[in-house]
Each structure stands twice: as C-alpha cells, then as structure tokens.
Symmetry: none
Subunit: 194 residues, 2 copies
C-alpha cells in the first residue's frame, strides 16, 4: 500500500463503537473493527489518530477520545451539484456541546412545556440551554419563575416596567406583580426528531 489514507474510515468505525459502548475497545478489537490483522498495525493507526488530535492517552495506556473525536463534519449549504457529496470533510467540524454551552458550570437544560414561544421556533418537547444569571437584557429570551413554575418568554420593557412577552398570539403578555424573578437566559435550543 502507500499513499491512500483511509484513516477517516477507521475513525468512523471507532466513533460508531464509542457511540454504542461508550468506551473505546482494546487494540485487538480495533483490529477486528477496522480490518487490521495485527496489533502493531493498530498501534500505528492509534499513533496517527493521536497525532491528528482525535485520541488521547488515559492512565494505564488506555485510549480516551478527545473533543475532536466527537466533532461532526459540517457540510456546506451549497454542494456544487455533483452526485457524491461525501467530499466536504473535516475542514469545518464542531461539537454541539462546545457550540451551545459556553459556561458549563452555569448552564442547565430545561425541557419546554407550553406553546407560548412557538413562533420563535421553540416547541413543546424542545430543550433550551439556559445560562443562569440575574442580569438579562431586554429582547432576550429568558426563563423566569412565576407562581413556582418556569416560564420561557421574551423579556421586554415599556413605560410601565418589565414584562414577559410570548411568541404566540394566543397567549397574552405577563406583567409581574411586584418582582420579576429571572432564572436565566436562553442561549441555545435543540430538538430531536423521532
């Protein structure tokens, strides 16, 4: 052999394995998975993947995935129209967690309950990524606590003070009686399709 590098395919097998088992296999099993029949060959493959930043060494010589290991390729929005779209590899990859969560210790996930924000593209069953803070700005989507329940609304302000505005004409604005308790600011949203 020589030039052609199918390490991407090898890596893909490893990623699949990790997705299922949530652990990386020993070298022998990596050989099984990738079709490499010698542990020495696996060793070299692992070395290459370490160099490329996809794998790391954990205590005991074991393997551990890095953040690059979890990155997903991002394909351009305009493929040139040719039939094989598998080309756009790796140049631009991101992990969804890193993208959505900037301050992990201050961030929680909240499942969306009602339809009050549906015109903002936030549907029941979605999750919102909430950064806990008291200082929300007008125009942001916030998670407020009203009557002991979470409420997700736009934070607005008019001549009479702050108010919570839904993104659904069938809902009306909420105006806090005495005090507005802001739980956090919505910095992201995600949804899974069945």
């Amino acid at each position: 052999m020589g030039r052609d590098n199918n390490d991407h395919e090898h890596l893909a097998r490893l990623q699949e394995f990790f997705a299922v088992h949530k652990a990386l296999p020993p070298y022998a099993k990596i050989g099984e998975i990738t079709g490499i029949n010698s542990k020495a060959g696996v060793s070299k493959l692992v070395f290459r993947l370490k160099q490329a930043g996809f794998l790391d060494s954990a205590p005991g010589g074991r393997l551990a995935p890095t953040s690059r290991f979890f990155a997903r390729p991002r394909v351009g929005a305009a493929p040139a129209g040719f039939p094989s779209p598998a080309e756009e590899l790796l140049d631009d990859a991101l992990t969804i967690d890193d993208f959505l969560v900037e301050h992990p210790s201050k961030t929680v996930l909240v499942e969306v309950q009602g339809e009050s924000m549906i015109e903002a593209g936030i549907q029941p069953g979605d999750y919102v990524v909430v950064e806990k803070t008291e200082n929300a700005r007008v125009g942001q989507i916030v998670v407020a606590i009203m009557d002991g329940e979470f409420t997700i609304k736009y934070l607005e302000r008019d001549a009479r003070g702050y108010l919570l505005k839904p993104a659904n004409p069938r809902f009306s604005n909420l105006r806090p009686e005495r005090e507005l308790t802001i739980f956090g600011v919505v910095v992201g949203q995600f949804r899974k399709y069945p």
Copy 2:
C-alpha cells in the same frame, strides 16, 4: 464497618473521572480515587454498581457506563419554587451530541438557509443534524439535493408520486422532475442565541 453505604460517593468520583477523561479507569485507579486499597474491594464495588445498573461490562472485561451512569442534574419543567433543581435522567445521553447523534459516521451538520421550514420550528441560521441515508420515510424531514443545492423539506407522497413540502405557506411544493435525490434525514436541530 457494616451497614452504611457510601457507594453513591464512590459513584460520584467515577462520574467525575469520566467527565474529565471520557473513559473509566482501571480497578487500581478506582481504588485510588475512592480510597479503597484493594482491588478485591474495588471488584465488589463494581459488582454492586453493576447490580444497581450504573455500570456494564464491555469487551475485554473493561467497564462501560450505562445510561443510568449519566444521570445529570436537569431542571424539571415544574420546580416547586425552591432553589435546588430536581435530579433526573436526560434520557441516556452523555452530552448533547450524544443525545442528537446516534450514528456518528453517518451524521453531518447542515446550516439552514431559507425560511421554507419556519413553521416546523426550523429557522435560517439553525443547524440540522442530518443522518445520511437513501431510505427516507414519508412524513420525515429530509435534506434533498435539487439543482445542486440542499433543500430541507417534508417528504410526502400523493397519487403522482413523491414531493417535497415546505412548512411555510409562502412556499410551494416541489415535485422532482425525474428523480429525487435524498441526501439524508433530519434527526435533530439546534440553534444558538447571540
């Protein structure tokens, strides 16, 4: 010793370790972490955690975390008004990536361009998680290739055959002229707020 069970603390140490290294340590290191000085003791601890459903055996006698292992604090949609958030499972996901991406090697991210799916909660600037496959089912949101560009639409079928249906009344259905090229199926969506 005897009655008191501090396995929860042991488990917490393991979860912390996994969060850092994304791999479970060998028994010797588990001993270090938990304060157990004999591998036999660790073995029994592991047995208990397996019984409790927090750990599992992967190929080679290695340990693998189960879905219960990833129990993470998540704020329930209806907090009783007190500051400590409820502890629940976010399904069986370790990360948001893990939640949205089931088959890493077949999955790519596509940035949404137009407004054709806006009533389905998919807005311009959002990312959709796309699982590459040719076999899409009717009713799913698919990424199709038309005129060399990605198009995100519902896949529907009527008496005249397949068609692509937008979720926006200002757009009209697309009916493929001769062949419909499906790039993949949308399995997730996420968005970041500035």
